[in-house]
Symmetry: C3
Subunit: 325 residues, 3 copies
């Protein structure tokens, strides 16, 4: 399901010529117009995609994208199925291209369109003092918004939600009957960038945070929005205090995430997963359904369904407890 | 010592008939009235208590409560000393009953009675900009309250306290000469609920946070209030930044709790305990007096007085350091 | 390089007689005036310094300080090179003396000189609602300040900075092109004190936080200022969310510090150091250049240049992964 992202204004089309200039790629094609950037699987003919590892060869074979950003190593294989645009650093070039299509994506730290008076137009909601709301915000009926809370432009909040005090919400779609506790920061850009000796290159984040129905987010949490895809908190999933969820993390339904847990970027967490306090989940992992992860664990590899793990690195909980008797 | 809790309005009495209806228990007694819910030890004759484990048989034998919530397993033993109300899930039923007696306990996220003008009536205090104070708040002399701080209704703050900026205090009794640093959130409900496939059942939290004289709470801490009992920070105990204290935790006097430490629910920490950064203390533990816990430790069992431990799981510090030389 | 500290007003000179009274040291010298307190290496003739360990004998031999706080153990060695002021607790006495010279250093929790109107005088900046700014604050051009943010008196912020919402900055010098994300608390006093049975003795913190050009500080971070020296975040160093940096920590240039990392006090981190999520760095350590520290690690000893470590305690990453296969 593709959910419309109302937060980042996209340029409709850019000439391939201008893209190649920005990426420092030789090109004499003056006519072709590109309408966007996308992954190998979903890219349309006139979108650009990228190829960075033979792991994705099966996707390359079927890609519709006519142009692919890649490096010299993959030039020949890419040219079999598409047209290679050869760059030094593939991911950095993807970042540069994303910036071209979403010129406002990096400049999102403060929403200067918010105002204390905007909240007054909403009916059938309760709100506290100094609530600052941006433009085109949607708030469902019977929802409460606490004191000093900031809701930035285009955010959508469903009905029957309780949004506490001192909260900041941006670039987020929030379902029905969701509770967000005091001091949480939802939807800021993720910690993604390319290191550089002088000034690091900030990767644009044009994804959102999606919080589904009946979820609860504890106090002083930080949930970063996705880079190209979204960060998702599933239905009826509860997060305790001081939890950190990095960009592109996808947490399933009915999960229980205890205090001070941290998720590095892009991991998928199944349904009915419970995670004890202070555990850490590394990036790009797949945690199955019905998994229990003990407090303090450090998870550095995929965990299959129905497992119980503990330890650093996390292992079968019986082994962990036996070893440490 | 029983400290009066001014935060949650209690219903004076409920007919046993109505309680049984809410718990789905058969009952034909139309006369008996129940005046509250309490633990086995402290329950009066006309309060309801509960029995959930043979560990508490010694308390059962002396309980004054005429009615006890329990499950089919303990029916006979309970009926020897009291009258069993048989339910499927004892703790969930206790939650439902607590909700009956304290109907506002779950609906506490935002205090809409707070106002910027309320602070003006206090004499001999200093306060910053945009301080929001609720009804019936008590603030002792020579206390300072920082900018944008929220003090909800019925909170009590002693004299000579320093309450910083952007702080939220609710359901809390705070002693004299207490310092609370910027961004901390004190007294919100704990992370206690019964998981359910559709919508988790929120356990009501009718306890308080009690912070005793000369204590210091660092920045961006979260200290949750107790469920039925209280969360306590002892005299002259200092907490560093980003510490999380879950519901019902009881920290003794003269403790030193370094940054990013986390306490799961209901643990008792003795006096003169020092805990290094990022250590985690599991729930329902008893940590003795004069205990030193090394940074990064994961404590998963009780620790006797005068111990020095480190590791995950925490063990005698000499063993830990020897093993890891 | 000595950077001027505009935050703590220093008394110009105090009679040795009064110092000795405060420290409970016998003294009959009524004439000598002392102009400050400093470390062994940098102390001038009429500043007081202190000696607490034979480790620093080489500095003692060349100190210019005419008076040194020490204890009875080091009386003779100190008197060879300087004049011993004998106390029971050297560090506590240094704290008392620092308090004498900087009488406002402990009383800094709230800046009552800040006001919503102060921001209006700055040209060529952008600012949100309810921005509270103190006296003598400097803000460079093209800098943005978000909603509800507090900038206390004498803080310096360079040009082209992005300071987000709900941020508190005090006792800090911030360079150019620095980004600080929502909810961070920069420059509060560190967690340094001498435990006492009745009321802990707070060590004054008269250092600053220095954040250099092109650095980025994530959301809900806490960065404490130094005690006598400063806490430093280097050029182009990026911190993720919920990071804690204790007093006197010095982080080099081009470092990458992932979410929920914690630094105990007074450690030196080299350049191009990357630290994975939730890792902890103990106090008083030296981490070299080009070091990579795996997520969840607990670093309890110095790490040489170009190392890759992981584990608790941290060890060579190949050993850690081999052991835990």
């Amino acid at each position: 399901m593709k959910i419309k992202n109302p937060f980042f204004k996209k340029i409709n089309e850019i000439k391939l010529l201008n893209i190649c200039k920005a990426l420092n790629v030789k090109n004499s094609d003056k006519k072709t117009k590109i309408i966007g950037i996308n992954d190998l699987k979903n890219a349309k003919k006139n979108e650009i995609s990228f190829f960075n590892s033979l792991k994705y060869l099966y996707l390359l074979k079927n890609t519709k994208a006519k142009f692919l950003i890649t490096n010299i190593r993959y030039k020949n294989v890419v040219n079999k199925y598409s047209n290679a645009l050869i760059v030094d650093n593939v991911l950095k070039s993807v970042g540069i291209l994303t910036n071209l299509f979403y010129p406002n994506a990096l400049n999102d730290l403060i929403d200067f369109n918010i105002d204390e008076n905007n909240i007054k137009k909403y009916k059938n909601i309760n709100y506290g003092k100094n609530v600052l709301v941006g433009k085109n915000v949607k708030i469902g009926k019977n929802t409460s918004i606490g004191h000093n809370t900031i809701i930035e432009s285009n955010v959508v909040i469903g009905s029957n939600c309780s949004i506490g005090n001192n909260i900041i919400i941006k670039n987020s779609l929030i379902g029905k009957n969701v509770t967000i506790l005091d001091g949480s920061i939802i939807g800021k850009k993720g910690f993604g960038f390319f290191p550089d000796n002088k000034i690091n290159f900030r990767y644009p984040h044009v994804g959102m945070v999606i919080i589904k129905d009946n979820a609860e987010i504890g106090s002083n949490n930080t949930i970063d929005r996705g880079s190209i895809s979204n960060t998702v908190i599933g239905n009826n999933t509860f997060l305790d205090n001081q939890v950190h969820v990095a960009h592109n993390v996808n947490i399933g339904n009915n999960c229980i995430i205890t205090a001070q847990v941290g998720f590095a970027g892009s991991s998928f967490i199944g349904n009915k997963v419970s995670i004890g306090g202070q555990a850490g989940i590394s990036g790009h992992l797949k945690i199955g359904n019905n998994v229990q992860i003990g407090g303090g664990s450090g998870v550095i590899k995929d965990i299959p369904d129905n497992s119980r793990v503990m330890g650093y690195p996390a292992q079968d909980i019986r082994n962990f407890l036996k070893k440490n008797k």
